[in-house]
């Protein structure tokens, strides 16, 4: 949870029950899509929805542990850091998120930035 952000930047993305646990949904915003992910342990994360590899929609991936796997070529992103899990590389933006009264609040300003993958990994070859 990040409290440095002003409340004006937080948006309500609906009830937390709208997302299966584990599961994910796409949240379209004016600044691009955000993947809102709920893990099996009940934690909620919000990350940029474009895979660092070739832009695959992470909101459509399989959620396991505190990770999500891109549906296109299988890159795995660590939800807390936004970083791709080795042997892949790159990162997606991580957005602050909190659950308030059963509703999901997402901060639109990311707390960490995206980075492309270096193309040398297994998923790049699968593309």
């Amino acid at each position: 949870m990040n409290t440095q952000h002003e409340s004006a930047q937080w948006v309500d993305a609906g009830p937390v029950d709208a997302i299966p646990s584990p599961g994910a949904r796409r949240l379209p915003t004016a600044h691009g899509d955000i993947a809102v992910v709920r893990t099996g342990s009940g934690a909620v994360y919000a990350i940029g929805d474009r895979c660092p590899h070739k832009g695959g929609p992470l909101s459509q991936g399989m959620v396991f542990g505190e990770r999500v796997q891109c549906p296109l070529h299988g890159l795995v992103v660590d939800l807390a850091s936004g970083r791709a899990v080795a042997p892949d590389s790159g990162a997606v933006a991580v957005h602050p998120v909190r659950v308030d009264n059963g509703r999901i609040l997402v901060g639109l300003t990311p707390q960490s930035a995206a980075a492309p993958c270096d193309g040398g990994c297994a998923c790049a070859q699968a593309a």
């Binding site: 709208a18 949904r25 796409r26 809102v36 509703r103």
Partner: protein, 818 residues
């Protein structure tokens, strides 16, 4: 009084003679053994694994000191015999020991060939033959240091691999233009080179070593072309020479090796010789299998039985580098009067070559897939006529491979005289007899009693299977197969068995029962568990959408731009104006093209996720169901027009295709399952590359199984012929159900058949009509729950306002909230 037997050379061949002799005539001799090395007898072959760190020296010991003591054998270690006084029948050792004999056995082995090259004496230049040398190498092997191996034969490559495993930077320098030229032809050698390079081992071919540089310690290897390769360690493995020094000095006739007759007797009738030191009929030796056969013969004569004869058999070589499967036997280069059968699959890294002369198999070279080596070896050794087998020879038969579980069935059908352990010449019959007669229970016991798998170890899997087969339910082998994924220790087989036996019906329950290491698995195990649960407990286990791969979860194929393609069923590939109109209207509405698929269907691509339910609703209105083009499921039934239209048609392939598709659709399978029905052997529906293919003939249908033309191409195997449509369907259902119940997740039917063997499939689906009906019945029962159109269940679901929790809707920013 006992006669005196002296063995000179406490190595693999010599001690084997003693063992065989003790079994035949335990009390005939008072035995003394002289060995130059300071150890008991150890398995030299395994030095490669000691070097790589896969085994410790202790694991290689074959006969420790206690073994000799227990049998009253005098053992002199670190004791080199320097002379034989044949007139007095005495051996004289370097330390002055003198011992008398009635019979003498020479088994002095071979010595590495060393080149008389400048710098050959430098510290750090060594050969690879015994424990002392391995220890010296390990002293110098440090991660990041450089090793150069001179010689790209079996020994050199195993040295290179071992040093690489120890973290060294390794280069192999080889004089010839291909690796292991005595065992491999050019294509196989090229594949091997690629695999080695992929493992980080550099290979220099056509490179002649000129010498070693350095002051005291080796610093570099110099090549003829002027290059120098820096080296902290240089291993020379360019060949071996029979160790004949002692025999020669004692006046025993030697050429390249100590010359022996068919009884392993030298020119002095009191003196026998076995092992790498001998020359028999002009041949010398470098692998243990022939030496152990020599040992049997020598023991037979020493025991006074006197009837065994040594004769050469084809030699087989395997390379002991983890992950590289290579087998070479007999004459693989062909030549006058030889024909070659060759199969290459560069994608899988598989190459097979079989050499045939006069309808007999005389050579086999297998790279990447050595499953059928035993079978080939038997055919070769027995000189069997292979003309009948020829069409399928390259594919092998459902014979026993090395791979863990896969042979359980093949073991059952294996003839008793099939050689299982090539090193020790142990047949299946001998193993079974030892297990039953002596009441053996473990692999170690079988090893101890029969020697099977005691040498190079590559047949361990087979021996375990025979043990398991012979003991029935009493034996559980060491896990051979890999765990399903890193979340668990359990294999696919174990997971399936637990689900069945413990009646597990949910993923969390299964994970708990099997001590999963992760809280909710991973994308590898969850889809597998989900499949195993729903296929084992139809109507009971609930499908878990979150454990489905993306396409299966959303019932469409995601495309590279994040849109989806929609492929409805066109039963048997037949469509009509009404259906075409529906598809055309949709294409127009969404402004997308229509693609005719490889499976005789129409694909509507570029549909956005949120539009999928609407598209499906329209299709459903016109009775068009999901084609499951996204699933590990029954796909299309590709059909040709058949006798209703075609002038050659012998059967109504279209009719049968449609009927099968209507009965089979909706079934989930370990991997995709495709069918094809052709009306005559011209086979326009390409049925013989389908998982299940049906081909019409005058008298009915031929049923074919296990084809694919995906990543790898495999033509089907013929299952049987049937007369009627009903029979065809019953056989197809039984086959499909067997695959559904016993295939591993993501194992295509082709791979499954290769694992379990066609004879097994025939046994289950053909031999017993009642069993077939039961399988088909179980399939029909499962279909009651499976034939629910997933599109219909989701059609019409639109915006998040209708169904906020629905997969196809995005979340929305709720403006007025909070």
């Amino acid at each position: 009084m006992k006669e005196k037997l002296i063995l000179v050379g406490n190595g693999m061949a010599g001690v084997r003679v003693v063992e065989e002799l003790l079994a035949l005539a335990p009390d005939k001799y008072e035995i003394a053994v002289f060995g130059e090395e300071p150890h008991g007898n150890y398995n030299r072959i395994l030095l490669s694994h000691v070097l790589s760190g896969e085994k410790r020296f202790a694991d290689t010991v074959l006969n420790d000191r206690a073994w000799y003591t227990a049998r009253g054998i005098r053992l002199e270690t670190g004791c080199k015999v320097v002379a034989i006084n044949r007139a007095r029948r005495q051996v004289i050792a370097a330390d002055g020991t003198i011992a008398g004999y009635d019979k003498l056995l020479l088994a002095t082995g071979a010595r590495p060939t060393m080149m008389p090259l400048p710098g050959g004496h430098l510290f750090g230049v060594m050969s690879f033959r015994n424990v002392a040398e391995v220890e010296a190498m390990l002293d110098l092997a440090r991660p990041g240091r450089r090793a150069v191996v001179v010689g790209g034969g079996l020994l050199g490559l195993e040295a290179a691999w071992g040093l690489k495993q120890r973290g060294m930077n390794v280069t192999v320098v080889h004089l010839m233009d291909r690796l292991m030229e005595r065992q491999l032809d050019a294509p196989a050698a090229a594949l091997l080179r690629r695999s080695l390079e992929a493992r980080g081992i550099a290979v220099e071919l056509g490179a002649e070593t000129q010498g070693f540089t350095g002051t005291q310690q080796v610093e570099a290897v110099r090549l003829r072309d002027g290059r120098t390769l820096p080296a902290d360690l240089a291993v020379v493995a360019i060949g071996i020479r029979p160790n004949v020094e002692l025999a020669q000095q004692s006046g025993i006739h030697c050429q390249r090796g100590i010359v022996v007759n068919h009884a392993m007797q030298t020119y002095d009738p009191r003196v026998y010789a076995v092992g790498e030191c001998v020359e028999h009929a002009g041949n010398t030796y470098g692998l243990v299998a022939p030496l152990f056969r020599q040992a049997k013969v020598a023991a037979n004569h020493l025991a006074g039985l006197g009837h065994a004869r040594y004769e050469d058999q084809p030699l087989a070589t395997k390379l002991k580098i983890t992950g590289i499967d290579l087998y070479s036997a007999g004459n693989f280069t062909g030549g006058e009067g030889c024909e070659e059968l060759v199969m290459e699959d560069p994608c899988r890294g598989v190459y097979k070559k079989l050499v045939i002369r006069d309808d007999r198999l005389v050579g086999a070279l297998l790279y990447g897939d050595t499953t059928n080596e035993t079978w080939y070896y038997d055919l070769m050794r027995d000189g069997s006529d292979v003309s009948e087998l020829r069409p399928s020879l390259l594919h092998g038969h459902g014979h026993l491979g090395d791979a863990g579980h896969s042979g359980a069935v093949a073991v059952a059908g294996m003839p008793d005289d099939t050689e299982v352990c090539g090193c020790n010449g142990v047949t299946k019959g001998m193993i079974v007899k030892a297990i039953t007669d002596k009441g053996l229970f473990t692999l170690e016991e079988v090893r101890a009693h029969t020697k099977a798998s005691a040498s190079c170890g590559s047949c361990t899997g087979k021996v375990e299977q025979i043990l398991a087969f012979t003991l029935g339910g009493d034996y559980s082998p060491a896990p051979q197969e890999k765990p399903l994924c890193t979340c668990t220790e359990h294999t696919h087989a174990e997971v399936r068995a637990a689900i069945r036996e413990q009646h597990l019906t949910t993923i969390p329950e299964t994970m708990r029962f099997l001590d999963w290491k992760t809280p909710d698995g991973c994308p590898k195990c969850r889809p597998a568990l989900n499949y195993y649960l729903i296929s084992t407990w139809p109507g009971e286990a609930e499908d878990d959408p979150q454990s489905r791969t993306h396409n299966e979860r959303v019932h469409a194929n995601i495309q590279n731009d994040g849109t989806y393609s929609v492929v409805p069923r066109t039963w048997g590939g037949l469509t009509n104006a009404k259906e075409l109109r529906v598809v055309a209207d949709l294409a127009e509405k969404y402004n997308v093209p229509v693609k005719v698929t490889g499976g005789q269907r129409l694909a509507i691509p570029f549909i956005k996720k949120e539009d999928l339910p609407k598209v499906w609703a329209t299709l459903n209105e016109h009775d068009m169901l999901s084609g499951f083009a996204y699933g590990k499921a029954v796909r299309s039934v590709k059909s040709c027009v058949g006798k209703g239209l075609c002038r050659f048609g012998t059967q109504d392939s279209l009719g049968l295709g449609i009927r099968i598709e209507k009965e089979f659709w909706g079934a989930w399978t370990p991997h995709k399952f495709k069918l094809g029905v052709s009306g005559c052997p011209r086979n326009c529906a390409e049925a013989t590359i389908k998982d299940f293919g049906i081909v019409g003939v005058d008298s009915g249908w031929e049923l074919h199984v296990g084809g694919t033309c995906g990543v790898r191409v495999r033509a089907t195997d013929l299952l049987c012929k049937v007369a009627t449509d009903d029979e065809a369907i019953e056989h197809a259902a039984a086959f499909l159900q067997l695959y559904r119940e016993e295939g591993w997740y993501l194992e295509r039917s082709s791979a499954w058949i290769e694992r379990v063997g066609l004879p097994y499939v025939k046994k289950r689906v053909l031999d017993d009509a009642a069993a077939r009906q039961t399988l088909a019945e179980r399939f029909r029962y499962a279909q009651r729950f499976a034939q629910v159109d997933p599109w219909q269940a989701r059609a019409g679901l639109g915006s998040s306002a209708d169904r906020p929790d629905h997969e196809y809707a995005s979340l929305e920013v709720v403006e007025a909230a909070a």
